[in-house]
């Protein structure tokens, strides 16, 4: 009896293990997705049972969630590289605030003097200015860390204070609003989304990319005589990937514009609003597309380029990296410049979403960004971490945050929960890694 039981459980375990090996799905990733779904369903059910209305698993909330995740997610991808090299950046929130205020001043006070208000190049120049300043600040921090040999914790802790103060000085604490109309689109909102048709185009391109990657992977393996994945696993991965993409498209297209916006829009463009209202889909928000684009580029950078390889080598063994001829100091400057650039990009998204620039923008963001990267599996000991993990981590953080707002937890409890979840997530990760070894 006991023996048969053991045998069946062995056979089952074997089947599951075989499935994961054949599909090469990262079980850690799977665990994170499961945790995320658990959070989502939990908040929805809680709302349904306690408040009589489950508001979490609705197109509207999930769409908003995606927009809210964008700013933290963009920075978290850069934080992965910083933490992988055994460093830290505590200044990203302040860099974000400083870049936002500089962009605000540029597009509201400085540039219109030369170009005139509403000039089509205004938003481009302002955004360029923001990311350039972000990259320059990051490079400066990196320079102090790499060549001045000052610990990154200290340099960026100083940066945290310096750039927040500088943000205040730039506009003497004023809030700059509204920003340029085109610039504001980068932050999302009904107009700052690509609509139903645009979303389908994005979705189909993504599906095509997934299929190409699977097909190309087979060709590469054949070329070098490596073992192939079984055919059923390839089909499964293709179906899963495309399924997720199409599901996301259907979701964002299911969230219509609010009635008021539809009315203004219809009046402006001379369309009759039919009886029962006009259904105009939001589609993917622009900041979300920026996040996805950043995620893809950063993944390519970290896994497919020499730069990325060196980042991980430095994290794994700084001495070995140096002895292998890698210019580790210059690498650090570049990594911090990239982190600063991404903080500048986040500043674009965050200030556009608020339609204003304040010197307090991005306060405490550094902690959420670090938490997102760490929850996403980036090891503070260095050498380990993935971009997609960090983006998922940002989504988890943001889900907790907005979920608690939805069910009416007050700010104090929100902080307690988020803090506890961070510690718990890292603890689970440590246990997982210990068992994986």
């Amino acid at each position: 009896m006991t023996q048969t039981n053991t045998q069946t459980s062995h056979a089952e375990e074997g089947a599951i293990a075989r499935f994961f090996r054949a599909t090469e799905i990262d079980t850690r990733l799977l665990g994170m997705v499961a945790a995320l779904l658990l959070i989502w369903i939990g908040f929805h059910l809680y709302g349904e049972l306690v408040n009589g209305r489950g508001a979490f698993l609705t197109p509207r909330n999930l769409w908003n969630l995606s927009v809210q995740t964008a700013s933290i997610g963009i920075m978290a991808t850069g934080m992965v590289l910083v933490i992988v090299t055994r460093n830290i950046d505590l200044s990203v929130g302040s860099i974000l605030g400083f870049c936002a205020i500089v962009m605000g001043v540029m597009q509201v006070y400085v540039l219109p003097k030369y170009l005139g208000l509403g000039h089509p190049m205004l938003w481009v120049l302002a955004a360029l200015c923001g990311v350039t300043i972000g990259a320059a600040i990051g490079a400066f921090h990196g320079f102090l860390i790499a060549y001045g040999k000052i610990p990154s914790f200290i340099v960026t802790l100083g940066g945290l204070l310096v750039w927040r103060g500088a943000a205040f000085l730039v506009a003497r604490g004023e809030t700059i609003s509204p920003v340029d109309a085109t610039f504001a689109l980068l932050g999302g909102g009904p107009y700052g989304a690509v609509g139903a048709m645009g979303s389908w185009i994005v979705g189909l391109l993504a599906c095509a990319a997934i299929l190409w990657m699977i097909w190309n992977g087979r060709i590469q393996r054949t070329k070098h005589d490596f073992p192939q994945r079984p055919m059923w696993a390839e089909y499964f991965l293709a179906a899963l990937g495309c399924g997720v993409v199409i599901g996301a498209v259907l979701l964002v297209n299911a969230y219509p514009w609010p009635v008021g916006i539809v009315k203004t829009y219809a009046e402006a463009s001379g369309i009759e609003v039919p009886e029962g209202g006009l259904f105009i889909s939001h589609g993917f928000a622009i900041p979300v597309l920026i996040l996805i684009g950043v995620g893809i580029l950063m993944t390519i950078l970290s896994t497919r380029t020499r730069f990325g390889r060196y980042v991980y080598a430095i994290g794994g063994n700084p001495d070995a990296a140096e002895l292998s001829g890698i210019n580790t100091r210059w690498m650090l400057v570049k990594i911090y410049a990239l982190m600063g650039f991404l903080a500048g990009l986040s500043a674009v998204v965050a200030s556009a979403r608020l339609n204003s620039a304040t010197n307090a923008l991005g306060t405490l963001d550094e902690l959420y960004v670090i938490a997102a990267a760490v929850i996403g599996g980036t090891s503070l000991a260095g050498g380990v971490g993935t971009i997609y993990g960090a983006i998922l981590g940002a989504l988890v953080m943001q889900s907790l945050q907005s979920g608690m707002v939805l069910i009416g937890f007050d700010a104090a409890i929100q902080q307690i929960v988020v803090g506890s979840v961070l510690v718990l997530a890292v603890f689970l990760d440590i246990i997982y890694r210990r068992r994986a070894k």
Binding site: R221, R309, Y310, A320, I326, V384
Partner: protein, 254 residues
Amino acid sequence: MSNAQKGTPLVELRDISIAFGGIKAVDHVTVDLFPGEVVGLLGHNGAGKSTLIKCLSGAYQADSGDIFINGEKATITNPRDARSYNIETIYQTLALADNLNAASNLFLGRELVTSAGFVDDAAMEAETRKIMARLNPNFRKFNVPVSALSGGQRQSVAIARAVYFNAKILIMDEPTAALGPHETQMVAELIQELKAQGIGIFLIEHDIHAVMDLCDRASVMKNGQLVGTVNVNEVTDEDILGMIILGKQPGKAA
């Protein structure tokens, strides 16, 4: 006279000195190496062997003294310079990035890239399989971080890295320290093979018998200074031990 000691040396470290915070780790040491020759560097821990050799591999820069490669003065300020002179090093610590797999470590700093400029992991793995088939045919763990490998397997990755890139000058810092008898024998055979190809090898080694077997000459250091250089076939292991322990040249001993 040793059979190798004619013509221009492949490497000459001339009058090298380096100090750390007032302590002279290497004090006016001169050693040389000819093609197809194995020169053993011996001495107690802290005698300055590794430090001396790190001046050649680019990890340290000498305070004074010159390095000559093929009779020409060479400037080696970092590991990249050393590599450009076809100097490869197997460090005592192995210098592997534990979180990367064997292929990534083997090609670290010299990745194969596709025409689009991306790292070509598949090609690097294929090349790694080829060289490992030669050096350590039992090696199978190509897709795991090297932290998951045994000491001997890690050592073979480090050796493969030094051998793969057509080294002319090879520095081996205690290459058999972590190895069992069988693997040690494989390294010995490899050294003979590389020697036959005309590669010059500096071998830092504590095991006197290995030195007597493998080396043509032995340079002994003590307290940062060179005690002397002897032709291995002209002395006994007792003589060399005397040099290491007493710091005296054989024959000169009172």
